[in-house]
């Protein structure tokens, strides 16, 4: 049994400790919001928070999450109204949307660490998540909007 706090709930996972967290989430726990993109930690589509820090779930074995806290896109906010989710809607960020769970999770960890990130900090945080649709410019705007409470609702 692997104990893990998943989206705020303590779970005991009866799964192979070598299994990547990605497949446990998607195939065993019904949390398909975390995406498979490359399987080798190169695209960031599977980004989740492990004790608040973004990791690629596709290269994180369950053994590495034992006793820790995992947050997925489904647990980012109780009602889908995280400031980033709202900013993503206002800035019309998603196109195909497939990478956006990963983008949001990485951006959320950035804002937790740096509530008012500089452009350089945004670049550094976000350059590990690939978007084939080219939504990067809007992602930047949405992060800046979410980081600036006065601009949030505009």
């Amino acid at each position: 049994m692997i104990p893990v706090t998943l989206n705020g709930e303590l779970r005991e996972l009866d799964l192979d400790p070598n299994m990547p967290l990605l497949w446990a989430l998607r195939d065993h726990l019904g949390l398909t919001g975390t995406k498979y993109g490359c399987g080798t930690g190169e695209c960031g589509a599977c980004s989740v928070h492990l004790d608040g820090v973004p990791v690629n779930a596709c290269v994180t074995p369950l053994s590495a999450v034992a006793g820790k806290t995992v947050t997925t896109i489904e647990g980012l906010s109780p009602d889908g109204r995280h400031p980033l989710q709202l900013a993503w809607i206002v800035e019309e960020v998603p196109q195909c949307g497939y990478c956006q769970s990963g983008q949001l999770m990485v951006a959320a960890a950035l804002l937790t660490a740096h509530p008012r990130p500089t452009d350089a900090a945004i670049d550094a945080a976000m350059s590990g998540v690939l978007c084939r649709c080219g939504t990067y410019t809007r992602i930047r705007r949405a992060i800046q909007r979410a980081a600036n409470p006065e601009a949030r609702d505009g």
Binding site: D16, M19, P20, W23, R26, D27, H28, G30, L31, T32, G33, T34, K35, Y36, G37, C38, G39, T40, E42, C43, A45, T72, I73, E74, L76, G80, L84, Q85, W88, I89, E92, V93, P94, Q95, C96, G97, Y98, C99, Q100, S101, L104, I122, D123, A124, M126, S127, V129, L130, C131, R132, C133, G134, T135, Y136, T137, R138, I139, R140
Partner: protein, 733 residues
Amino acid sequence: MVDPPENVRLTRRALLKIGALAGGGLVLGMALPTRAAPLPDAADAMSARTLPIPADPSADFVPNAWIRLQGDGRIQLVLARSEMGQGVMTTLPMLLAEELEVGLDQIEVALAPVGPDYVNRFLGAQATGESTSLRDAWTGLREAGAVARRLLINAAAATWEVPETECQARRGRVHHADGTRSLAYAELAVLAAGLPVSEPSSAPIPLKSSDAWTLIGTRPRRLDTPLKVSGQARYGLDVRLPGMLYATVERCPVLGSRVRHWRGEAARAIPGVVEILMVRHGVAVVAETSWAALRAREILEVDCRPSINGAADTARIRARFRAGLTGRAALAHRQGDVSAALDAAHRQIEVVYEVPFQAHACLEPMNCTADVKPDRCAVHVPTQDQQGVQETARRLTGLPAERIAVHTTLLGGGFGRRREQDFVIDAVELSQLLGRPVQVIWTRADDLRHDFYRPMTLHRLRGGIDEQGQLTAWFHRIVGPSLFARARPSEMSEGLDPTLIAGAANLAYAIPHRRVEYRRADTPVPVGFWRGGGHTQNAFVTECFLDELARLAGQDPLDLRRTLLADRPRHRQVLELAAERAGWSAPPTTGRACGIALAEAFGSVIATVAEVSASADRVRVHRVVCAVDCGQVVHPEIVRAQIEGGLVFGLTATLKGAITLSDGRVEQGNFADYPLLRFDEMPAIEVHLVQSDAAPGGVSGLGTPPIAPAVANALFALTGRPVHGLPIAPSAF
């Protein structure tokens, strides 16, 4: 493109198609022959939250339709195109809603089954691609909305016993002019459905004039965004069916090679593995979970037959293409006498350009889920070609088309890749063999190594200028594999592949003597549709060559283009707008330079200016300014997003990877060796839209063609060294 008169007659044929839904309601079809087809999934089929397991398709049949007014008040608008990021889930319902007089907040989007009503006239199939969806839908969907609105008004008028002219439709209700009475569409639907079929009305139903539009031209929020920011959006890989197995297929790495034998004892011993078996495309590992299948596949031993393709590599393909740069070819365009004009030219140049194979690299790898039963089949798939999926399943199962339901999920990128059927074949074949639902998952390596690539092409261009510096002669020979010979053979004519010559044969510039040729040179590498299509190669080549000619003539690249576009006001307008907004005439920042390029594609015109700098290890694109004339704009923000997206797609092909072949195998297998543009490499982007009353043009593929030449021309301006191939190697500057 000119629209037909914007009105529609309420024809007997249209009226005949009005019928009551089982639950009481109005179904309105288009004026095409209809036949029974499976009921579309619920409007929110793409939401994991409400994931409906598809009903037994034999249980319910309804006529094809665009608008479904349910007795319970729900207004469903049918979407017959695939949402892959380009926004059709919002823009196409906007066309219906505009004329039906409902708000986007009042509707549900229902997904179309496969049926003749839903054929895309540009593609001749129920398919999505080549930047056609909005162009195809523009008149027909508005007409469908207008006819429905008229019927509802008629029903209200009949109820109140007042003239129809005293009734007005607004936000899902018909109001009487006296201001005291109104009826909801839901109340009217039953009545409208019961109206007697009448002879054709003599009065045409006019479509709303553009100044009466309340939706078209505005920017309502995309309907798919809430799902996509909450993890609820359902893509192909998110399909979960009871009893479903997961499968992955080991294909032979040498393109076209077949499996000789395989050993799976060790793989079969992995817990969760259910079956290992040979299928058409390779050896399939089937398991209870994705991970078990993927793990087992890693230790599967597969031995492939030697293939004649085993020696194929990029250098050999290049050599073959080079041989095709001279000798016989098909004539794509001829005007004047280019040989004589070149002979007579004061100065002339010849350049050979090379453009490589490119992969699609959709972030969601190819996948498909099939559930084949003895008497029916359901395919859940992120596809751009529903009709093709149905046909594939029909061929493999032998079931009649009406027993095959195609459920389209959201697409995690398409870009033309998802018009193919290879991943569908995997899933249908496996489900049929195993008698259970099967989801086939391609790995990233499968996806990159077994793509239908954007064709590699070589180009030889010759140009001549006279003593006055006028461009008088233009010769362009294109050499590359044919895509249409496989995909749409009926559209091949006289050895010409329309997509390979797109944007080259029909060059907008006025040049008195011009000849364009195509020499087909097929290779073992499968080729397919790609964002922007043949325009992406040809815009790069022609726009770069034009800058070389401008240099030869001692002219500014913008001035030369202006001169050559004297009788093309639409092209000149975007060119001048992009140049003005980019500050073309101002001296550039030290160490930077600007390049400009123009493209006409999909009924739209775009000009792009890129500002770049270069160092020993890096070409940096700082800023890109686009000016776009895509006719009437349905949703300006989605148009801008599409231009941005197409531009970034093209920038990846300009600056990053290429697909190469060695020993018959594609060499790239993940994002480490096929890199995509990253967040910190993004230029600042401005997109300016030109006001236009023309019918809408396509935009999804529009941003891609001009970015490579704009960047290349900027580098040429910066360094004096022209770019003759893609991707651009920083070491060259």
